[in-house]
């Protein structure tokens, strides 16, 4: 019995030391990875700072102004161009006074009579820009008018949001 106890203890010692060894080597590997990660972190931080400085350098207002003047056909913002969303006039709906739709039910967005009844999307009367999709009108033919005369959007008003 004493011998078996000794054997058990020896096996235990063996197992523990083996486990300890593996644990230690694992810790060493982790430590190395931590050191690598720290170095990487340090390098990334350093690069980050350089990039932040470069970003600030490249986005200097004077540089942006020079670039905008050279490449963009834009002028300064005039007070008349600034407004709130609720100041925009709603386009007249595509119904006539009797509540009948002006458009034929199957009319497309393009040259149909329905689209013609809606005032031009661009008030300046510019020709449509080639290659650009025509803007979908807010008051599409699926919209209905409620009893008190208010417009109920077919999509619950999501289109405008």
């Amino acid at each position: 019995m004493r011998r078996s106890l000794t054997i058990v203890v020896m096996l235990l010692v063996l197992a523990v030391s083996l486990g300890l060894y593996r644990l230690e080597s694992e810790v060493k590997i982790l430590e190395r990875r931590l050191a690598q990660a720290t170095t990487q972190l340090e390098e990334n931080r350093r690069n980050n700072r350089i990039l932040a400085a470069e970003w600030s350098f490249l986005s200097q207002p004077s540089r942006l102004q020079a670039l905008a003047q050279r490449h963009l056909d834009l002028a300064g913002l005039a007070p008349a161009q600034i407004g709130r969303l609720d100041e925009l006039p709603l386009k007249p709906p595509p119904w006539d006074a009797d509540g009948n739709l002006n458009s034929n039910q199957n009319g497309g967005q393009g040259g149909s009579s329905g689209a013609a009844a809606i005032p031009d999307v661009e008030p300046s009367g510019k020709p449509p820009i080639p290659g650009r999709k025509p803007v979908k009108p807010l008051h599409n033919r699926n919209n209905k008018r409620s009893k008190d005369g208010r417009i109920v959007l077919a999509d619950g008003g999501r289109a405008g949001q």
Partner: protein
């Protein structure tokens, strides 16, 4: 007792043996117990450290510890978080000259890749035989590579911090600069030198109240005007009228803080905060405000401005002379020196000093810059001083100081100390009520009238309801004032219904051109400049333009002139 004698020793022996074993066992057990307790404690501690406490905590601490790249001076940001000053690690080249084999040849090769170095200095330094000599600080990465490619033994690099200002000269007079060792020499860098150096473990940045976009617009426009009018210098600032925060502050000419010594010393002089000037007619705003506030006169009151005033050998005359009785609004609109001088006499010498002191114009103002000028006030404040101070002569103050006082005239009467540091949301600025809200309301209408009908017409920025006042002052010279050396300035606030921002621009010795009919006065030089600046910064600052012809706007800004084109002497004296 009955036990045999012969083996009598045996039981004793057996007894002692058993006892020894017993003792041994007890000791072993004690030791084992002690060890067990120790191990249980250790195991418990292990469980506590690894499982009970969140393991991320210790790791996060390691990650947050200051490292090489975050150590050093703190960054400086503008109010929107744009980087204005930062520290970068750069390599600096030094030599261990004992190891460099052929110093003359090494110098020659080094100069080929670093053309900025002087050949004589490099040769001299490499020949000293010392273990450490600097060759060039703060190399770019590509320069560092080309030096490495030379393969000269004895050349080494040392990582160094370098202060970098990505916007160059744009914020130069606010930020200031540091020396090569990172000590603040001027501006914010000097004022907050300690704080920037001993920043916390998180590496907190210093956030200024400046807005880089507004700063750029101001500098861009003022630079253009300075070139056009061939001015010697200029200063300008944009300030929040309600909390004193400075959104832009320039002084021209300025310098590149990355190479501060490249510019002449005069470029490093901050005209907006350090320079004190006799600002001229912009002071009439203060004179009218103190006269109305103290009750010395009323809006419908007025003064006879037919003839120049002669006092103590001087004569005070009007540059836009109307040669008639002028009401208080007219005195401001037509910028009458005679009217302002008489008005100041009604306020009285002590009253005027009292008010000017309350407006913060007789003391050095507080600002987060080391370059703050002390105002120069007359040593003996007699009647003449009272009269001249009424229209901004004989008393020299800095533009920043005047802008703060002007802010109080329009914001409801509260003087807010100027600041360059961004206030945290919810942090309340503490001000002092210096004039009544009622007087301030009158001043807003009066200043709007100056721009609508008076000398400040060219400062109009449609939609932004600009109100303001011109100021043209002759610069003092030897034995009097110099007629052709002017300080032309314009002070404005917008929108006048509820002023949000104060703009003050000053041109030093502008010379008129054909477009201004040769006039260098403020109405032709500084006023249109302010109008242009407001047109550009209004949208940036989110000020909603209004229709200035709308009925409710006209009503809010209405100001009767109480003009009397033909006045009998009796009525004049009655009013006076």
């Amino acid at each position: 007792m009955t036990a045999p004698k012969a083996p009598g020793a045996a039981p004793h022996l057996i007894g002692s043996k058993a006892q020894a074993i017993q003792t041994g066992r007890t000791r072993l057990l004690t030791v084992a117990l002690v060890f067990a307790v120790c191990f249980i404690v250790l195991a418990g501690r292990l469980v506590e450290l690894t499982i009970i406490r969140e393991p991320g905590k210790t790791l996060a601490f390691v990650a947050a510890a200051p490292t090489k790249s975050t150590a050093g001076r703190a960054d400086i940001l503008d109010r929107n978080g744009i980087l204005l000053a930062t520290n970068l690690m750069t390599a600096s080249l030094y030599a261990d000259t004992r190891v460099v084999p052929d110093s003359a040849r090494a110098a020659q090769r080094l100069i080929r890749v670093l053309p900025g170095l002087s050949p004589a200095t490099v040769r001299e330094r490499l020949a000293t035989g010392r273990a450490f000599v600097w060759l060039k600080r703060n190399l770019t990465p590509s320069q560092q590579r080309s030096v490495n490619d030379l393969g000269i033994p004895g050349l080494h690099f040392r990582d160094e911090q370098r202060r970098l200002y990505p916007h160059g000269a744009l914020e130069s007079h606010v930020l200031g600069f540091t020396d090569v060792d990172g000590n603040g020499i001027s501006g914010i860098e000097k004022f907050f030198d300690r704080a920037l150096r001993d920043r916390g473990p998180q590496g907190r940045a210093l956030q200024l109240s400046l807005d880089a976009r507004v700063q750029h617009v101001l500098r861009d426009e003022v630079m253009a005007a300075m070139t056009r009018f061939r001015a010697a210098g200029a200063a300008g600032l944009v300030m929040n009228a309600n909390n004193g925060q400075i959104l832009a502050l320039i002084s021209l000419p300025d310098f590149d803080p990355n190479h501060p010594t490249a510019a002449p010393a005069l470029s490093r002089f901050n005209r907006a905060t350090k320079g004190v000037y006799e600002l001229g007619s912009v002071f009439k705003v203060l004179t009218v405000a103190m006269a109305l506030d103290s009750g010395a006169t009323k809006l419908r009151g007025g003064y006879d401005a037919t003839k120049p005033i002669r006092v103590a050998g001087f004569s005070i005359r009007d540059s836009h002379a109307k040669k008639r009785w002028l009401s208080v609004p007219e005195i401001l609109i037509y910028s009458s020196n005679i009217g302002a001088a008489k008005m100041a006499m009604d306020v009285g010498r002590d009253g005027q000093r009292n008010y000017l002191d309350r407006f913060g114009l007789l003391r050095r103002p507080s600002l987060e810059l080391p370059e703050v000028g002390t105002p120069i006030s007359p040593a003996r404040w007699g009647d003449l001083s009272t009269m001249t101070a009424a229209y901004g002569h004989g008393l020299a103050v800095s533009p920043i100081q005047f802008a703060s006082a002007f802010g109080a005239m329009v914001n409801g009467g509260v003087l807010m100390p100027a600041t360059l540091i961004k206030r945290q949301p919810g942090e309340r600025a503490l001000g002092v009520q210096v004039i009544s809200a009622r007087t301030s309301n009158h001043m807003r209408r009066l200043l709007r009238a100056v721009v609508e009908k008076g000398t400040g017409r060219k400062a109009q920025a449609p939609g932004y309801l600009v109100g303001g006042k011109t100021g043209t002052a002759e610069k003092p010279g030897v034995g009097g004032y110099r007629r052709n050396a002017l300080i032309s300035s314009f002070v404005a606030a917008f929108p006048m219904t509820k002023p949000k921002y104060v703009v003050y621009l000053l041109l030093d010795e502008p010379r008129g051109d054909a477009g201004t009919l040769g006039e260098g006065g403020a109405g032709y030089t500084a006023a249109p400049l302010v109008g242009r600046v407001i047109k550009r910064i209004g949208p940036i600052l989110g000020v909603r333009p209004v229709d200035d012809t709308a009925a409710h706007v006209r009503r809010a800004m209405a100001m009767r002139l109480y003009s009397r084109k033909q006045v009998s002497r009796k009525r004049t004296s009655a009013v006076n």
